[in-house]
């Protein structure tokens, strides 16, 4: 049986969402295959790493005193010697060689490419987007800049850091004044709609920026679309891509925030947005084809692999479509969407594992080193 590590938690505002994604569907589906020994690796908000198979059960994280129970465990060590090895230190020391890693971390220190960098160093195959796509997609501004430079449509925006704002408030306010209200103020590196505020006029701006800067030191201000239709498209693949169904989140509130996504979502939810989404989205064929085309282009331009979800904004009146964001680890892998096109959770994780292995094998053929005499010549007049 192959050892597969699912890494979740971490120093991120989306810490708890990450625990849910790790368990539903990742761990439960991996266990359902009966083909893998699943090792759950949980990273606390403080950055401590723990691993014990009882954490394969989501119920553990629902207990009142699970934090206390956790501290009784020993933190694990990792070895990168010829692959990734998890080590439980102590008198009865144990170690497990990991064959494959399934990252399940949303947001900072995980989805942003940090974890992928670590796994690349460990030379272990891992599921989902690689370091570069993850890092770019995590930065909403960088994503827009890359996509715009390739001619893909994005909504007008302004960005700046906390430091810029403190120094050049008037210049930046002038820039903002060229945008059409309502505006969306977003922390650049956060997902799950955390810290996002919709502002309708200039007087609300200051407060919204304060909220965004609470979570990030770089913010994005973008124009809101009149007659907005939001849609999202999950995509899977490395070279050959498969699109899931185009989905339209349904929301009765100002915009689709964290609570709507994770707490009141689904048809069983009791929140304001009782019905989570329209699946497939009821949009015409022209828009559908446009979104499928833009989605795949975005996926390729950013160098995504494994799985990602592309969000779009549609102006219902002009029928203009804009690429909004790219999410390299869709919450719960958007399992509900894949199911509607006939891909069960088990099939989803199995395909993602195959894609990870495929990418890892193909990277093996790339030469990363180069022999030279540079060291011998160092110290000379000119290298």
């Amino acid at each position: 049986m192959k050892n597969i590590a699912v890494i979740f938690g971490g120093k991120s505002a989306e810490h708890d969402v990450s625990i849910i994604t790790a368990h539903t569907p990742i761990i439960s589906s991996l266990l359902a295959t009966g083909q893998y020994e699943v090792w759950p690796i949980y990273i606390t908000k403080d950055g401590a790493w723990y691993c014990d198979q009882f954490m394969n059960d989501l119920e553990y994280f629902k207990k009142d005193d699970w934090h206390n129970q956790l501290t009784k465990l020993k933190t694990i060590h990792l070895s990168f010697d010829n692959g990734l090895t998890v080590i439980w230190p102590g008198l009865l020391s144990k170690q497990i060689k990991i064959d494959l890693v399934f990252p399940s971390m949303h947001g900072t220190f995980g989805e942003d490419g940090s974890l992928m960098g670590l796994l690349r160093m460990a030379n272990v195959p891992f599921i989902g987007c690689d370091l570069f796509a993850s890092a770019v997609a995590m930065d909403k501004v960088l994503t827009k800049q890359v996509l715009a430079s390739e001619g893909l449509p994005v909504v007008p925006y302004v960005w700046f850091t906390k430091h810029d704002w403190e120094l050049n408030k008037s210049t930046l306010s002038e820039k903002i004044s060229h945008l059409k209200y309502p505006l969306f103020i977003k922390p650049v590196h956060l997902g799950s709609s955390i810290g996002i505020t919709k502002v309708k006029n200039n007087s609300e701006l200051e407060n919204a920026l304060e909220v965004a800067f609470h979570y990030d030191d770089k913010v994005l201000i973008e124009e809101g679309i009149e007659n907005l239709i939001e849609v999202t498209l999950p995509i899977m693949g490395n070279e050959t891509l498969q699109c899931a169904a185009i989905e339209r989140p349904l929301n009765n509130t100002e915009f689709f925030d964290f609570n709507d996504k994770y707490l009141s979502g689904g048809t069983k939810g009791n929140g304001v947005n009782r019905q989570y989404s329209e699946l497939p989205a009821q949009i015409n064929d022209t828009l559908t084809n446009q979104i499928l085309d833009l989605g795949q282009k975005t996926y390729r331009i950013l160098g995504c692999s494994g799985i990602a979800r592309i969000d779009f904004l549609i102006d219902d009146q002009t029928k203009n479509v804009y690429v909004n964001e790219v999410n390299t680890l869709p919450g719960s892998l958007y399992q509900h969407n894949w199911k509607t096109i006939g891909i069960s959770n088990v099939e989803l994780v199995t395909r993602l594992i195959n894609l990870a292995q495929e990418r890892f094998d193909s990277q093996k053929t790339t030469t990363y080193t180069f022999s030279s005499d540079i060291l011998k010549q160092s110290g000379g007049k000119k290298i």
Binding site: P25, S29, A32, G34, K268, S344
Partner: protein, 477 residues
């Protein structure tokens, strides 16, 4: 192996023993045979857990006392002088303690059974018999290897439209269970319906003596409890003890069941999906929303739309309709009552979750006829991916292998897409049957039912139909 042996010395061991006794309904033979089969006593409570009641707690206390007594004796032996002989005795007692407790518990159990329980039960049943003899309601008794609870519920639902009807809840079908129910009667009931449980020859006669039925239904005879009866002849004779008791009084016999039909007399009323002598069934249809058919006799026509699933439900519905007609219910009352019938708990009970998967819970159906009926129903469903999940059937005695191979053959013929088998001694026979019939679907294996239930939501898609067939109680592990 060492872990298995050590499990006898764990703290859980006494509780495991009492759980085994309780699950075997304190049948010593079953308890001993389960104990002989069990290798590891740490994980005996899998499907259920020990129900704490005065009897189980008393036996648990006695088991602990036995263990403490043996260990104390061992310590006493070594404490009062050292010798090689004493050392041997000490180690022997340590080794033997769990075995002494396992078998020793049988003695207090027998004492409780024969000195306390039996006399109490005798008086309870005697009192119940007197109460029932004075009760003016019509008593209907239902006997058979399978389908008794479904027949009881159908009858109760249909007759309730025109009569005050009472029937024991759950599976109260033993003298003590029925006596408990009799205590709850108000006295003004017009119809009483009883299931007669049969495990050994004479059981049905004993229950008839208690109930004194005015009419009866024999739902069918098959290999259920064959392990206890040994032969189908004994099963048939036991179930037809109801016929012997009733004499010329009305007895309905399932005409679709060959053993019952062959054993029926000319004055018995045969019922089937075709109807009865009086009623004829036409236009039968079934699906996930229910079953419908038209019933006609010389001058009447009734259209029935039941929520029960499967054409095999038509026979029992027709029998209930005929009994209702015999008891004087009007056509409207009969139609209304029959249309009110719906699946009962864990008997082909459809459930749809938020993910759009339709689960048919048939976990209380564990007999070959019931299995055939359900596979036929699944075969009739189109446009759905069908999953059949089973641990197999228990107590099939010498016919275990042939029955399970036949289930495999039926599943292959029905072109079921996915068969999920729970690992045990009988499911390999289902696999064999599937392979012999060139099954084209997928077979999946799981260590236990809980693992399968946990995995299914991740394997299924919206629109899939998942049938959960039978349960595998711990005592058969």
């Amino acid at each position: 192996m060492i872990k298995d042996w050590i499990s006898r010395y764990g703290l859980k061991f006494p509780r495991s023993l009492i759980y085994m006794l309780q699950s075997s309904e304190y049948n010593i033979g079953e308890y001993l045979s389960w104990m002989r089969r069990t290798k590891n006593f740490s994980h005996v409570e899998k499907r259920k857990t020990l129900v704490k009641n005065p009897k189980s707690l008393l036996l648990l206390a006695i088991t602990w006392l036995l263990l403490i007594a043996v260990y104390s004796t061992a310590l006493f032996v070594i404490w009062h002088g050292y010798s090689i002989r004493r050392l041997y005795v000490f180690f022997f007692l340590l080794w033997a303690a769990p075995y002494i407790a396992s078998y020793g518990i049988i003695i207090p159990l027998l004492i409780i059974k024969y000195i306390i329980q039996r006399p109490i039960e005798y008086f309870i049943v005697k009192k119940a018999r007197t109460t029932l003899a004075a009760h003016k309601g019509i008593k209907i008794a239902i006997a058979g290897s399978f389908g008794k609870t479904s027949m009881r519920e159908i009858l109760k639902t249909v007759l309730s439209e025109g009569k005050r009807v009472a029937a024991p809840p759950h599976s109260y079908n033993t003298p003590l269970g029925i006596s408990k129910f009799i205590k709850t009667l108000k006295g003004d009931e017009e119809v009483l319906i009883f299931e007669l449980g049969e495990y050994y020859p004479g059981d049905v006669r004993k229950l008839c003596k208690l109930i004194q039925p005015d009419m009866g239904v024999i739902t069918g005879i098959n290999q259920a409890h064959l392990q206890k009866f040994k032969t189908l002849k004994k099963t048939t004779d036991t179930i037809f003890e109801l016929s012997d008791w009733l004499g010329d009084k009305p007895l309905y016999v399932n005409g679709e069941n060959i053993l019952a039909k062959d054993h029926a007399s000319s004055h018995h009323i045969l019922y089937s999906r075709e109807g009865t002598k009086q009623w004829m069934v036409t236009n039968p249809t079934t699906g996930l929303s229910g079953t419908s058919f038209t019933l006609t006799n010389e001058d009447k026509q009734i259209t029935i739309q039941s929520k029960l699933l499967g054409l095999h439900q038509i026979g029992p519905l027709v029998a209930a309709i005929d009994i209702a007609s015999y008891l004087g219910l009007s056509e409207e009352q009969i139609a209304r009552g029959t249309n009110n019938t719906k699946p009962f708990d864990h008997r082909l009970e459809p459930k749809q979750d938020g993910s759009g998967v339709i689960t048919l819970d048939d976990s209380y159906n564990g007999n070959p006829d019931g299995v055939t009926a359900v596979i036929n129903f699944l075969a009739s469903l189109h446009g759905h991916r069908r999953w059949y999940v089973t641990p197999g059937l228990v107590e099939m005695g010498v016919q275990t292998e042939s029955i399970h191979k036949e289930i495999g053959r039926q599943l292959a013929t029905a072109n079921i897409e996915k068969v999920v088998l729970i690992k045990n001694s009988v499911t390999t026979d289902i696999e064999q049957g599937l392979k012999e019939s060139q099954f084209s679907g997928e077979i999946m294996w799981f260590e236990d039912a809980l693992a399968a239930f946990a995995a299914l939501p991740h394997l299924t898609l919206p629109g899939d139909v998942v049938l959960l067939q039978n349960d595998w109680p711990d005592q058969y592990n």
